[in-house]
Amino acid sequence: MLPRKADELLKRIEAQPLLPEPFEKWFAARGWTPRAHQLELLAKAEAGRSALLIAPTGAGKTLAGFLPTLVELSKERAAAKKGAKKLVSTGRGIRRDGGLHTLYISPLKALAVDIARNLETPVTEMGLPIRLETRTGDTPVSKRQRQRRDPPDILLTTPEQLALLLASADSPFLFGSLKRVVLDELHSLVTSKRGDLLSLGMARLFRLAPQLTTVGLSATVAEPEDLCRFLVPQPVEGQAQADLVIAAGGAKPDVSMLDTKEHLPWAGHGARHALDEIYDLLKRHKTTLLFVNTRSQAERLFQDLWRINDDTLAIALHHGSLDVAQRRKVEDAMTAGKLRAVVCTSSLDLGVDWGDVDLVINVGAPKGSSRLLQRIGRANHRLDEPSKAVLIPANRFEVLECHAALGAVADNAQDTPPARTGALDVLAQHVLGCAVGEPFHSDELFEEIRTTSPYAVLTRKDFDDVVDFVATGGYALKAYERFAKIRIGQDGRWRITHPRIAQRYRMNVGTIVEADMLKVRLVRSRGGKTAIPRGGRVLGQLEEYFIETLAVGDTFVFAGEVLRYETLVEDEVYVSRATDEDPKVPSYEGGKFPLSTYLAARVRDLVADPKAWHALPEQVREWLEIQQWRSLLPKAGDLLVETFPRGSKHYLVCYPFEGRLAHQTLGMLLTRRLERARLRPLGFVANEYALAVWSLGDVGQAIDTGKLSLAELFDQDMLGDDLEAWLAESALMKRTFRTCAIIAGLIERRFPGEEKSRRQVTISTDLVYDVLRKHQPDHLLLRAARADAATGLLDIRRLGTMLARIKGRIIHKPLDRVSPLAVPVMLEIGREPVSGEASESLLAEAADELVKEAMG
């Protein structure tokens, strides 16, 4: 084996182009030598190959991606000086020399700007005659227009901006010269609808510039082949892949779990028990990133830390709902090295490198191995030194999850989500964009779209349905022909019917649909009855549906303070500072990732294997042992179902370990079935590991006497009619539908500032959903929404897999009281809003309360 390997290596070295002189000098001046993967990418570029680079943070990934472009441009320019012409004949016509050479696409606007800044350094220091510019939503109109006329050599931008650039008549001129596309943080782009949109844009680029090659930059993922396919056009038969380049890994991270001296809580996610220990860690490190999973946890931890911050360490807060200016301030302070710690959510999972971070603390559940590895990678961006991270479990189940995660990190196991199938709502947006750009021919566009990896399996029927949807709404009842947005001409090409359509398309580009957000403004409490003064400071934004649950006077935590809800003025929420320490409304949603399937399996294995418990903290070991004695611990593939009475109610608790979203869907469906079995279920509550359902009827007895069959209760057929019936009224499904409707362009986005005028012309998508479901259940948008529901807020696919897994493996354990394992989920009752009660019964309860009140 060895000789062949050595031979390969030799060939590779021979094939490696030498760095041009200025580059050699520049590296040498900095005391650097080019890394192997940087040279390898150069070789790929020389050979005209597209490539995916997988490298840890700190490995010089960005430079590796740009090096081929910098080298090519510097050679080209040197040749140009010797008198090459500006216009070059291509045989068919005249092509401009120069023009846009490389397009860089990043998921974050801030990252594009930061990379541009970093790239300026080598370009300036080597004196390369290269123009590089960014283009984001913030770029002034005049500059954008100039960029179209006179493009830079390198343009750094986002997927949405690419879509906008493509949807214009001059895109062949702009992109005809393009040689390379660099896709940064590709692992994060491809997992969402943004990736779908990007893949469609790339297909367009490949057509406009057939000479194009691509470079993908990515963190380690479970299936690199998926990303390699994403980077190149797919042939009609078989598959094509970009070459894979894997950079040597850095030092193994140094990860540990906090061995707390305190009592480990049974439930909750705040880790308040470990506060002093966390604070102590902050004191002993220079700069710490504290990751938590939700915004409310970030708020809470931030407050708690400041309460005990006797040394007044500079601790900041960063999450996606805070005002942008506020977030930028924190990021700038961080770059300037002014902060000792930042409490943050996934808002900082990606982004600008901070070399000075020497500790990452993950508070709460790690949720997934890859996510954790990426977070850990945010510490210490020098390759040769290990990143240091501490996991702080907030409750006993999280100890199990943290332990499983430690094992996964040691194995460097990846659990990134599988490749997507392209979404139809995104395709609809793209098809309209194509028509806005230049008239298209259906057959040609269909072929082009099929070259993308997410849409490689797109059927002609789905494509035609999408075109029909874009043209007139895609309805079986052809009522809107005369209002068509695009129409087919005599040349067989589809074009837009009015310039207004192009304008509206540009306003609605993109796949990120935020929940309707309301600005939160801090005012002084009115105390008495006087009018509330207007115009306080804006703290950030909150979801409309959270605000809807508040009554005047309710308190909640936001932007690091306990706030009191005062009133709603148009599209702004007025709040004042509250004096109470404990907010009345516990939490609001935001950033709840489900436990990854991979970690879940590791946790199940751990629970099932007492021999592995020795590594667990004593409190946790004891807890599992008592569970074994009082009830039982399920074998790795089994589903344990416990039933027990408590108070005047009967409880059913099961432990699928499939994440809160899938459990919530399961809870909804189980309550429907228990209702039918006349066991009168009252509600349920779910956490990441377990689901508890309570009822008036004695479920345990019904199982024992054979009146209720657990096998039937948990049968997969619940995903048939029961699911359909529930989807008809599910608020989550309606939210999913709304997102699809906006992306597909059925209804338009709401923009801040025009809320008031818009509200009069917008229509509730819930009403549209009801009507469409009844009259055309197979409509494109309903299909798109169902596809999303499978993996999104309802996690139906995962539930389906679980139900199949436990078939014939359900273990019923009737108990006379609550088991140790059930305690955590039982404690969630009262903390989490109780689900499962239809709005109907809530109304009845509210109305009957009034009657009771009136009758004394």
Binding site: T549, V771, A846
Partner: protein, 241 residues
């Protein structure tokens, strides 16, 4: 009235909604969003907004073109349930002046079929101030029958016996951290504002100042439309947006 008739009627009320009294007249408030006046055999619905979908389509927003059919189907059920002598549509019957012209053939036939066997009154509204052609019925601006007056826009300050629409009342109640929002009848015993009946009609929260203006204060009741029953709440108990 024979006893059996009375009990049959009470059963209908229990099954399909509740009773409300306006200016001494007892009306059945159907949780489908209609009022029925048993003594006169009159069925009232407000704000049908027919052809709202095609109205949006003119501007390039292609809402499913089934709203007229959906609205008419629900109206058909109510007509079958009460077999009224007369049907009154309280204005904004079409979403815009051209609505009647845009009716699909099937929907137009449907309207004709619904009108068979009883009188039909299209009270004019602000969205459709001109009588539409070719859809049958009468087109008054208002109609007084006995103690009650039917018109589109409610009159500010109490008008005894006024039944109106126009405002699309919706009430919101919070219970156990969850909010339920429903269309409702708003009434203070002297006058009533009916919920909008159309499939695509949105709502206005009853705590909006427009309702204070109509009822001269906050002393009125919201009868929220439920599944087979109405839920009554004082306006005070309901939440603003």
């Amino acid at each position: 009235m024979k006893t059996s008739e009375v009990s049959a009627e009470t059963a209908t009320v229990r099954q399909f909604g509740g009773e409300i009294r306006i200016a001494g007249v007892t009306l059945v408030a159907d949780c489908g969003g209609a009022l029925y006046w048993p003594e006169e055999g009159i069925l009232v619905v407000a704000d049908l907004h027919l052809e709202k979908g095609s109205s949006f389509a003119k501007r390039g927003v292609f809402l499913p073109p089934y709203d007229t059919a959906a609205t008419l189907a629900r109206l058909g059920q109510l007509i079958a349930r009460y077999a009224p002598r007369c049907v009154i549509a309280l204005g904004d019957n079409f979403h815009d002046g051209g609505g009647a012209d845009r009716l699909q053939g099937g929907d137009r036939d449907n309207i004709r079929a619904l009108q068979r066997g009883h009188d039909w009154v299209w009270i004019t509204g602000n969205h459709d101030p001109e009588p539409a052609e070719g859809i049958g019925g009468f087109f008054p601006a208002a109609l007084a029958i006995g103690a009650l007056t039917f018109r589109h826009e409610p009159t500010a300050k109490a008008w005894n016996g006024e039944i109106a629409g126009h405002l699309h009342p919706v009430a919101r109640v919070t219970q156990r951290g969850r909010t339920v929002s429903r269309r409702c009848f708003a009434t203070n015993g002297k006058q009533a504002v009916m919920p909008a009946f159309g499939a695509y009609t949105g709502g206005l929260n009853i705590r909006h100042p427009a309702f204070v203006e109509v009822f001269g204060g906050i002393a009125f009741t919201a009868h929220m439309l439920g599944d087979g029953r109405l839920y009554a709440f004082t306006a005070k108990r309901c939440m603003s947006d």
